[in-house]
């Protein structure tokens, strides 16, 4: 008889989290929301954040943008620097004092708020209650537009074909691929083309892309090729981490495509063209 496993502390054995019931949505648009830009949007895709603001304001919602917001903590969290992630998360929580919905411009960051803050603060009952309530009112942008605002988009643009890339966490944690597809479907002149292995990861994975550049590079090369082969004229995504990865690779490989944030694409397609004043 091996004595070894008797060294184990008598801890409860973990059972997988039960499956979540489909999310239910408020029946009324809120008057106020917090917009969470995310660090990547802030520095590399600010226009996407602005277009998100325009789209939300058009729905009659007052957008609040806490100026002290920075990063949700995900890079440190996924790199194993849990304490650092926790401190950053705590500083973000302190900004969200009102019980307004939190609308996030990037799927994986929305997932961080919704799914992983509870892990970060599992040992702090008070904060845990706070993040659990926050998770309930956190939305990825396309989900919020579709399900809470119930937007009806009127396409004003020329006929075009687009390919949609969805970040893995947004797909798995929030069904963002379905929400984004539905929004694109509302645009009558836009045809969405599938691409090969569409649900496969683009290889970003935050620090993974620089820790494992060979593997990540092989993944993004397959992704950019699949996107190009789809024949789409445009690539859209609701996650700027993926876009940073995919666009950087497009440019490096001289592929004449550029991924655009879904918010920018939707805003540009639905603006009534102003006749120039004569």
């Amino acid at each position: 008889m091996s004595h070894l496993y008797y060294n184990a502390a008598p801890q409860e054995t973990r059972v997988a989290k039960p499956r979540k019931a489909p999310r239910s949505y408020p029946t009324h648009k809120p008057a106020h929301i917090y917009l969470y830009g995310t660090c990547v949007v802030d520095l590399f895709f600010p226009e996407a954040g602005m277009d998100a603001i325009h789209l939300l304001e058009r729905e009659g919602i007052q957008v609040n943008f806490p100026q002290a917001q920075s990063c949700c903590g995900q890079p440190a969290y996924t790199s194993g620097y849990t304490q650092q992630a926790k401190d950053v998360a705590r500083s973000q929580l302190a900004l969200l004092t009102e019980d307004w919905p939190l609308v996030v411009c990037s799927g994986s960051c929305a997932g961080m708020f919704r799914e992983h803050y509870s892990d970060l603060f599992k040992d702090e009952p008070e904060t845990l209650a706070q993040v659990t309530a926050l998770a309930e009112r956190t939305y990825e942008l396309s989900e919020f537009l579709l399900k809470v605002c119930q937007v009806e988009l009127t396409d004003q643009g020329e006929a075009t074909q687009v390919a949609l890339h969805t970040s893995c966490s947004a797909r798995r944690e929030m069904n963002t691929h379905l929400h984004a597809r539905e929004l694109l479907n509302q645009l009558t002149q836009v045809e969405r083309l599938d691409h090969d292995h569409e649900s496969e990861c683009c290889g970003f994975g935050g620090t993974f892309s620089v820790r494992m550049p060979d593997i990540s590079g092989a993944m993004v090369a397959d992704k950019t090729q699949a996107l190009q082969k789809s024949g789409a004229q445009q690539v859209v995504s609701a996650d700027c981490g993926c876009l940073l990865n995919i666009n950087g690779a497009f440019e490096k490989q001289n592929i004449p495509l550029l991924g655009q944030h879904l918010a920018s694409f939707l805003w540009q397609r639905t603006q009534v063209k102003q006749e120039p004043n004569t």
Partner: protein
């Protein structure tokens, strides 16, 4: 000594990054793997088409394994006492060295010269073949995939389909050169030739070796699934049968094996059930005409109790070795199984190998993942693989001295410089003034971004910050409005 191969393995496991670089260049491997994995993915889905049923079954699988693990010591004792009563000899091994010594002792006591093996990943873990060979005992693999890679002096690249990285042409050429058979790439004829060679070997062997899929405590039953009949031959024809398995394979009762079996065969190969399901509960009885005279079970720990001791890491031991996580993994599909340098490749390999070999020997395994979550989504026993990878990263970057020490090799990727960098990141993101100044500078000096930014620019053009941050744009816009 088994240590020779373990040693080579360790060296390779430490070089995951450079191994991967090499295999990524192997176009044949990339094509073979992609088409094989695509086909396995679709077979699995066809065999479990109804999402609700599939998810309910996975939840059940998770609960069964979690409950078995919660009573692990008791179930193992119950298993031992029932098997012993039924005439099966039970041996305990803390390390692979101990397990090899046990097997060798049994073999030497019988004066064995030849051993025939059914598929067993634990025997790979032990490097049993090498150990037996060093002691003058021939060990021959009888699973078709294992047979192929043994001929080619390779290690399994997949836990269910060890030779999945090879196509029929490659196998044809291998048989031509190693078995002096006329070249063919017809899969059926290849299999037929190998089978007729193996047939003889079953009768010559002194000992048959197998793994175990589920060890049932209540009835003292060793359950073994397979499709080729070689498992049944290995466990019934030779006079001695030795089963080797990890301590986590024990389940409470036969009832529990029904959903687990269904999950295992569907997740692995998209099969409702395998061609053979072997249930072994005793050696040959006086009134029986066949079966081995002696049956042994070797229960191996080899680092599993380390995982067991932590309630989060314990979930690693839910694994029923179906291989679905690797079939769905975008990293595994591209680099193949060899690159991991560990017996268990793919996502399960990345979460179990650090326990078997120590983090110091698998320093890059937890990081070699984008955490895309494809593995966790399909795992039949719902192991939260991405969460465990993240946890292992945490153990990996802790200071090696930090207490309590949960994993052997803790802090193998600890670097003062990197820890400082993250402290800086933390300050940057918690101090609004710092953040504001930082982004201000980045946006204003964006055009001075160097065109080479380390690993990033290997695959990308250098990122150019925008001219104004969203903070600035939003502030201006919202102020104008109010």
């Amino acid at each position: 000594m088994s240590s020779q191969r373990i040693h080579t393995l360790d060296v390779t496991a430490q070089n995951l990054k450079s191994n991967a670089r090499l295999s990524l260049k192997d176009q044949q491997l990339r094509t073979n793997m992609r088409s094989a994995m695509d086909s396995l993915i679709s077979k699995r889905l066809i065999s479990m088409p109804d999402e609700d049923e599939r998810e309910n079954l996975r939840e059940l699988g998770n609960k069964i394994k979690a409950s078995a693990l919660s009573q692990l010591p008791d179930l193992l004792e119950q298993l031992e006492s029932n098997l012993t009563k039924q005439g099966i000899q039970v041996h305990w091994a803390s390390t692979t060295e101990e397990a090899n010594a046990i097997v060798l002792n049994i073999a030497q006591a019988r004066n064995a010269k030849q051993v025939i093996k059914g598929k067993s990943m634990v025997s790979e873990e032990m490097a049993m073949n090498e150990h037996l060979t060093e002691h003058g005992i021939e060990a021959l693999e009888s699973d078709m995939g294992e047979y192929i890679i043994q001929l080619d002096n390779e290690k399994p690249t997949h836990i269910i389909m060890p030779a999945i990285h090879k196509n029929a042409q490659q196998v044809g050429k291998l048989f031509e050169s190693r078995l002096a058979l006329p070249y063919t790439d017809d899969v059926d004829s290849l299999i037929q030739s190998a089978r007729s060679i193996l047939r003889e070997k079953f009768f010559q062997a002194d000992i048959g070796i197998s793994g175990v899929n589920f060890a049932v405590a209540e009835t003292g039953t060793l359950l073994l699934v397979e499709n080729e009949g070689n498992g049944r031959m290995s466990t019934t024809v030779p006079p001695v049968h030795i089963a080797v398995t990890g301590i986590e394979k024990v389940v409470a009762n036969l009832q529990d094996t029904v959903p687990l079996l269904s999950l295992l065969t569907r997740s692995a190969l998209g099969q409702g059930i395998t061609t053979y399901v072997n249930m072994i509960s005793a050696p040959r009885q006086p009134d029986e005409l066949d079966g081995p005279e002696e049956v042994h079970l070797v229960l191996l720990d080899n680092g599993r109790s380390q995982a067991f001791a932590d309630s989060e890491l314990r979930q690693t031991l839910n694994c029923i070795r179906c291989g679905a996580c690797m079939n769905h993994c975008p990293v595994y599909t591209r680099i193949g199984g060899q690159a991991y340098g560990t017996v268990y490749p793919g996502p399960i390999g990345k979460i179990i190998s650090p326990h078997l070999l120590g983090l110091e020997n698998t320093p890059d395994h937890p990081s070699a993942s984008s955490l895309c979550g494809a593995c966790g989504e399909v795992c039949p026993v719902k192991i939260p693989i991405p969460a465990l990878l993240r946890r292992l990263r945490e153990e990996n970057v802790k200071s090696p001295k930090q207490q309590p020490q949960i994993m052997a090799g803790q802090g193998s990727r600890y670097s003062n410089k990197e820890a400082l960098l993250w402290k800086g990141w933390q300050a940057f993101n918690t101090k609004p003034l710092l953040y504001k100044t930082g982004t201000f500078l980045a946006t204003r000096l964006g055009q001075f971004t160097p065109s080479k930014l380390g690993a990033w620019t290997q695959n990308h053009s250098a990122p150019k910050p925008a001219k104004r941050s969203l903070h600035e744009l939003a502030k201006k816009h919202l102020e104008k409005k109010s």
